[in-house]
């Protein structure tokens, strides 16, 4: 399984993920949200979870339907999202991009990440991998669902996942 087997190139997939990370780094959250199809979902399973973790039976950090994902973005832009006001500075590194399975119409894409978040003199690190369900809309790559798996044993140090890692 590789990029070609889902009708893409590695460059195209990597460019998409780099652009996504850049939008989050820049807090351009509406544009980030536009990368998702309507009805898309977003998840952060508990630290150390397996890829098949299920939000209807286990306690995630985030399990957003599309409405809540939109509201999460709206909230993060408000002064009243206190944990992110003034907003933190973040930087994301993305690598190890691979197609896991699927075909051109719908495929699973994974990447590894490290995200640093800095606020009020404290810098936290999040690391792990993302798992995307991808599709194309009018030829352009779009996200059907995204799961962010944190490899930390726990989030004692970070305390919260107030950003979109």
């Amino acid at each position: 399984m590789n990029a070609a087997s889902v009708g893409a190139t590695r460059d195209e997939l990597e460019d998409f993920l780099y652009a996504e990370a850049a939008l989050l780094d820049a807090w351009r959250l509406d544009e980030w949200l536009a990368l998702f199809v309507e009805g898309a979902r977003y998840f952060i399973p508990p630290a150390g979870a397996e890829d098949d973790a299920d939000p209807s039976t286990s306690l995630f950090y985030v399990a957003d339907d599309y409405h809540r994902l939109c509201e999460r973005v709206k909230r993060l832009k408000k002064r009243t999202a206190h944990a992110e006001f003034p907003r933190s500075r973040c930087r994301r590194l993305v690598s190890n991009v691979r197609v896991v399975e699927g075909d051109a119409a719908r495929f699973t894409l994974t990447s590894n990440f490290v995200t640093w978040r800095s606020k009020l003199g404290v810098t936290d690190t999040f690391f792990g991998h993302h798992l995307y369900e991808m599709t194309r809309v009018d030829g352009a790559l779009r996200i059907l669902s995204k799961k962010t798996f944190l490899d930390q044993d726990d989030i004692r140090d970070q305390g919260k996942v107030s950003i979109i890692p």
Partner: protein, 422 residues
């Protein structure tokens, strides 16, 4: 040479209606030493729920008040709790978080213990004298006391003192309102949220049942629920605070959000609304109309002294937290749910939970931020000054957004730390 008396930690002036806690209580190493001695080493502390240790041979490794414990269900079905340290040199005997097995083996020198904690095997056993074999010297050490209240297991690090039911006292009535929700009992759902932040642990005691901060701090949460048609019903947040004795306290109140037990909101859809109505009818059958109403439509934020929070709100969460320093705490949070509830209700419950609670919720991160900023504020005046907890002091019926519940906690806290002698 005269010794000047320590400055007071608490000011409790009924005449003026003034109640204040010295900010030193949040910053001082000496106070934390007193707390360890007079509170964490001398109180019933929550360990785990029975559903986490279901089968014989199941074990959990869990940290309680900075101590590594091993909670085990033996072949005989008995639950036991040991300090997770090898009697030989001290290494952790169990390094997994949870599992099922027949024995524990410390990898350092390969001493092995059965589920009852007895040393059953070690290399070179013949080299140990008969005199070292008596009295369980080389067995795992059990915690001095282990007891349960309706499936909630607690430990106590002292051998003497009041038993668990006596300790829980007036809080039992409120625990029952939660534990009775499941006809087949209750269970923990899918894991623990383990986080932490830079604030004194007592700030979270206060915050967990602080009805005063809800609207100002969590306005963005309410913005969100209002954005969803039918996610709220027309019910005001209204209720009272109760001092339950022994430092336990609760606020009980009505609220506009949906509760799987058993207040539905239109956004859940017709099927779910019908199901919740049936659940409520069943509560009426089981407990009568008055108690059923209380279980179904009132919320409870309960603090079991010193650090077990049971919040029965849009979902049920259990939470414990421990100081690792005056300005730092670690938090464990679980979701508790009725055993055997329908898949749809379970899904709604967890969806509800994450809406508000936990490190990725729309509210908890802002609470953590508020508490960390409080802690930071104490530094600005060098740990001097006072926190004011006077709201509703002179009221005969303190309300959910008053602070009587916090005063109940603080009085017990003060009684204990002032009798401690570090």
């Amino acid at each position: 040479m005269s010794v000047s008396p320590a400055p007071p930690l608490l000011e409790d002036d009924r005449e003026r209606g003034l109640f204040r806690v010295a900010r030193r209580a949040f910053t001082s190493d000496e106070v934390l030493t007193r707390e360890r001695q007079a509170i964490f080493d001398d109180a019933w502390l929550y360990l785990a729920h029975e559903s986490e240790l279901e089968a014989n041979g199941d074990f959990l490794a869990r940290r309680v008040a900075g101590r590594d414990l091993l909670f085990v269900r033996g072949k005989d079905g008995q639950a036991r709790c040991f300090f997770n340290t090898c009697p030989h040199r001290g290494a952790l005997v169990c390094r997994e978080r949870a599992g099922n097995g027949a024995m524990f083996r410390c990898f350092y020198h390969s001493w092995a213990f059965d589920l009852e904690g007895r040393l059953v095997n070690r290399p070179g056993d013949e080299a140990y004298g008969a005199g070292t074999r008596a009295g369980g010297l080389h067995d795992l050490v059990p915690v001095p006391r282990l007891a349960q209240y309706r499936g909630l297991w607690f430990v106590h690090f002292k051998g003497q003192g009041v038993d668990l039911p006596t300790y829980l006292g007036g809080a039992r009535e409120y625990l029952d309102l939660v534990l009775d929700q499941g006809e087949a009992g209750m269970e923990i759902v899918g894991g623990t949220q383990e986080y932490g932040f830079e604030a004194n642990w007592k700030l979270l005691c206060e915050n967990s049942f602080d009805g005063y901060h809800g609207l100002p701090t969590h306005v963005s949460y309410f913005d969100y629920v209002k954005s969803k048609p039918g996610a709220l019903v027309e019910i005001a947040i209204r209720g009272q605070a109760f001092d339950l004795g022994n430092g336990h306290a609760v606020v009980q109140y009505t609220a506009p959000w949906g509760r799987p037990i058993a207040q539905s909101v239109p956004a859940w859809g017709e099927d779910a609304v019908r199901e919740v109505a049936a659940t409520k009818a069943r509560l009426v059958e089981r407990f009568g109309p008055e108690r059923a109403e209380r279980m179904a439509t009132t919320n409870r934020n309960l603090l079991i002294f010193p650090n077990l929070v049971v919040n029965d709100i849009m979902a049920v969460t259990l939470r414990t937290f421990y100081p690792t320093a005056p300005d730092r705490q670690v938090v464990n949070a679980w979701a508790l749910a009725p055993r055997g509830e329908s898949a749809r209700m379970r899904e709604l419950r967890l969806f509800n939970f994450l809406e508000f609670l936990g490190p990725g919720g729309f509210a908890t991160p802002d609470d953590c931020e508020a508490l960390a900023l409080c802690q930071r504020g104490y530094g600005s005046v060098g740990g001097e000054g006072w926190n004011d907890i006077s709201k509703g002091y002179l009221s005969d019926e303190p309300q959910v957004d008053d602070e009587a519940q916090m005063r109940a906690f603080w009085r017990e806290w003060h009684r204990r730390v002032t009798r401690a002698t570090p």
